[in-house]
């Protein structure tokens, strides 16, 4: 499959008003709104186009498996610092996440609290818009403020603005040293301590609280990690690498719920007072709940200045509640105008982000 074929498929769908459902490995079919339209399989459009370790970037096609990218980076001691889930072997129909799906969904893993989100690492994208035009945004350099920053806008857009045919991401060196500490504490204390530590120059790269236990990962220079270990106390964790993979991949039992809500909250927010707390991540900024009461969850998150995503749930429930918190009428209108500017006939992943477009 080449770029022209891919663009041709979209052009044809545009001409015939055919909705398309863009699909890489399908590892995140569970995520977002309804899956509608003719499947546009982009998994075949794969391969690393350029990787320059000393320029700190990698460019790859959308169908490239994340596992391949991580392996290539690891050879040079580098990584995708936002630690995205690969969802390898999760679910029946999954072959491991692709780069395109990773960026389109905008999901980051445990290191998000230290390194930043997917969008923070976007340097450029080759986008095929809803009329089949190939557009180049951004580039391969770290700093580029020429034109609107469309490439970052694409992170988390769930394919509704175009197919992210080729993506350039900033990469970073792997930390020299890493160590994980364990603490026994309750929810309130975990949130308080995480925020207190967050205000100190400590090399905390991940945090995960579940069922009275807090896992804290320290990453950085050897000396900094050693000093933090001495300062923080706690007990060293065994099998820590495996633990963090289970958090990244959401195979940890904390995520096992038929209805799973993701709450993004200001990190210092107190408990939202909901039942079903499963886990706290990102220094308090990301909290997971099992349960079904949509209005109560959305309302609680909004009151604390955050929002709630119906992350995993049966499709019927996701359609009923909407996967993402509703937008204000003015913001929704702006979203529709933007959507239209990239996809005039609304053929790309309709309803995947919001039912309205």
């Amino acid at each position: 499959m080449n770029l022209d074929d891919l663009a041709g498929r979209i052009r044809a769908a545009h001409d015939s008003h055919t909705p398309l459902r863009i699909r890489g490995a399908g590892s995140k079919d569970f995520y977002g709104g309804m899956l509608a339209g003719e499947v546009l399989d982009v998994a075949e459009y794969r391969g690393i186009v350029a990787y320059e370790p000393t320029e700190l970037y990698i460019t790859a096609r959308c169908g490239t498996p994340l596992a391949d990218i991580e392996a290539e980076l690891a050879e040079e001691g580098q990584m995708l610092a936002f630690e995205p889930p690969q969802f390898d072997g999760v679910g029946v129909d999954s072959a491991g996440a692709t780069l395109g799906g990773c960026v389109a969904a905008g999901l980051a893993g445990p290191r998000r609290q230290q390194a930043g989100a997917v969008r923070d690492f976007m340097l450029g994208a080759k986008l095929i818009d809803g009329s089949g035009q190939v557009l180049d945004f951004g580039g391969q350099v770290m700093k580029n403020v020429a034109g609107y920053d469309v490439s970052r806008l694409l992170a988390g857009s769930l394919g509704t603005l175009g197919v992210l045919a080729e993506i350039t991401l900033k990469v970073l060196p792997k930390p020299v040293a890493e160590q994980t500490l364990l603490f026994a504490m309750d929810e309130a204390e975990a949130v308080a301590r995480l925020n207190e530590w967050g205000g100190q120059p400590l090399p905390i790269s991940a945090s995960f609280w579940h069922d009275g236990q807090l896992w804290l990962r320290l990453s950085g220079a050897r000396a900094a990690v050693d000093k933090a270990v001495a300062q923080l106390g706690g007990s060293p964790a065994v099998n820590a690498a495996k633990h963090w993979i289970s958090v990244r991949e959401q195979t940890h039992p904390a995520f096992a719920a038929s209805v799973l809500w993701r709450l993004a909250l200001p990190s210092a927010a107190p408990s939202p007072g909901l039942d079903g707390l499963r886990a706290i991540e990102w220094g308090g900024g990301q909290r997971w709940y099992a349960g079904e009461a949509g209005d109560a969850v959305r309302g609680a998150a909004a009151r604390l200045g955050g929002h709630a995503v119906l992350y995993r749930a049966p499709e019927s429930l996701r359609c009923l509640e909407g996967p993402f918190a509703p937008l204000s009428p003015a913001l929704l209108a702006l979203h529709r105008r933007l959507k239209k500017s990239f996809d005039p006939r609304g053929i790309l992943n309709p309803g995947r982000l919001y039912a309205e477009f």
Partner: protein, 493 residues
């Protein structure tokens, strides 16, 4: 969206009459002598008097001004401290300047949540000063940080000497309040790690006042490192200094700052600042490590080793905070220092892949001969962002035109080397023609469609940041770039 730039015709008296109805007298300037200080920003070569300057004191007044201008079809140019270097805040001849200078309050510094909520007219450095008692600071530090404002930083996605490790404005802003040209208020972003819907924060940051007017900014504060130390290395050869930068990155080190200055720059700076730079060196590198004392010692050790192996002739490590600041003072004062040795200078802002540095510097040396003008180079080496300072004398007839052509050639070379025409200063009015070199018709059309989604009458900062296709057609006719005539599909004037 291929329509030419709209031709605005404003009835000045009617406009002034309407503005007087919504703003108190001390918030409105309409006389030419009062307007004069607003005719340009930091790019003084481009000047234009506006019809009026509004200095609102409340968001309600901002909304009123925008609604009025929307109704009357009058262009609006938002302005912070006016320190921008690309003419982004240059007024429109038929329009209003909307100054946010009086939005100068820090509304909240939240120690626990590590964030600050500030008005757009607050100076960059003031945020860090307010956060200092809590051991926190705001990371992006453009060299103009004592004067430039957060609103302007958001508009330009400003960087600074520490953005390799700590990111640009886009990485450090959590939320903004924005008023649309129609007077509608949007909260974009969140104090949570993300917000529902498209990442409009990423789109708005760096949009150069083209999409909305910012009335409030929430920024992330980060813990101040316990210690910072700088290694200063001199090199006999700029190419070798460039390679040393790549070697540091290849060793898995992301320094807090990694800057280069060439001989012309150190020669200009040293008599002015007395930073102790090696004046015999072809280039010097400044490499900063920060963190805990142990961490810094470890990193300085590794950096020193890499630099020595890369052929550094002399290495000095700052032995005190005073010495560290002195090493940086020269770099931060590079622009004013060059301003002392030449009547005028023109600062460029291209980015290039680091490995093309030597090629770029040798091309610039050739251009100095070609245009008969000198050029000093300071370089955010860590992230490939080059600031050549072209020296000229505006009083000499024609010299500005040569400087402008020199700059244009540098920018076009940046694109040819795989980089960008601007890393942190923005396109503004200055680099509007070079946008035609960096982007082709489909991307420019996409930018215009985005603009239209926010501002369908094209009233916010018209003529800046994104060129019309007709402008590009005209420019393409003058400059056939590498034999590739762009915008072939357009009629030529």
């Amino acid at each position: 969206m291929t329509t030419p730039e709209p031709d605005f015709q404003t009835d000045r008296a009617a406009l002034a009459g309407r503005l007087k109805m919504i703003l108190p007298a001390h918030c409105l300037l309409v006389d030419d002598e009062d307007l004069r200080p607003y005719e340009c920003d930091g790019l003084t070569a481009f000047r234009q008097l506006p019809l009026a300057v509004c200095l609102p004191e409340s968001e309600a007044q901002v909304i009123d001004v925008l609604r009025t201008c929307h109704q009357l079809g009058v262009p609006v140019v938002a302005r912070g401290a006016g320190t921008g270097l690309s003419g982004g805040a240059m007024p429109h001849a038929q329009g209003v300047v909307l100054s946010l200078a009086r939005f100068n309050k820090i509304l909240r510094v939240d120690r626990k949540a590590r964030l600050a909520v500030v008005q757009p007219g607050v100076r960059n450095l003031a945020v860090s000063e307010a956060a200092a008692p809590f051991g926190l600071y705001y990371a992006p530090d453009p060299s103009s940080q004592i004067a430039c404002t957060l609103g302007g930083n958001v508009a330009e996605n400003s960087g600074g000497v520490h953005c390799l490790k700590y990111g640009l404005t886009v990485h450090n802003v959590l939320r903004i309040r924005v008023v649309s040209i129609e007077g509608e208020v949007f909260e974009i972003g969140s104090e949570a790690p993300d917000a529902p819907g498209y990442d409009l924060l990423a789109l708005l940051i760096g949009s150069e006042g083209m999409l909305g007017v910012v009335t409030e900014v929430t920024v992330k504060l980060v813990p101040k490192p316990e210690l910072a130390q700088v290694v200063m290395a001199s090199f006999d050869d700029v190419a070798r200094a460039g390679d040393a930068v790549a070697d540091i990155i290849a060793a898995g080190i992301i320094p807090a700052g990694l800057e280069m200055m060439d001989k012309a720059a150190t020669a200009a700076v040293e008599p002015f600042v007395k930073a102790g730079y090696d004046l015999r060196a072809a280039a010097i590198l400044l490499c900063e490590a920060d963190g805990t004392p142990e961490e810094v010692a470890e990193e300085i050790g590794r950096v020193t080793e890499v630099l020595r192996a890369a052929g550094a002739r002399e290495l000095r490590v700052s032995q005190s905070e005073a010495e560290r600041l002195r090493f940086w003072a020269g770099r931060k004062a590079a622009f004013p220092a060059v301003g002392r040795i030449t009547p005028d200078y023109y600062c460029m802002d291209g980015t290039i892949p680091r490995k093309r540095l030597a090629e770029m510097l040798s091309a610039i040396a050739d251009m100095e001969h070609k245009y008969g003008l000198r050029c000093a180079n300071v370089f955010h080496a860590g992230d490939g962002n080059l600031h050549p300072l072209i020296m000229y004398d505006a009083a000499k007839p024609g010299e500005w035109r040569w400087a402008e052509a020199f700059g244009a050639e540098i920018l076009e070379m940046s694109v040819a080397l795989g980089g960008s025409i601007t890393g942190e200063h923005g396109v503004g009015i200055e680099k509007i023609n070079q946008m035609c070199v960096q982007y082709k018709t489909p991307e420019l059309e996409a930018f215009h469609r985005i603009k239209y989604a926010f501002d369908d009458k094209g009233l916010l900062n018209p003529g800046k940041a994104v060129p019309s296709l007709h402008r590009c057609a005209e420019y393409g006719r003058m400059h056939v770039h590498q034999g590739d005539l762009k915008f072939l599909e357009l009629e030529r004037f």
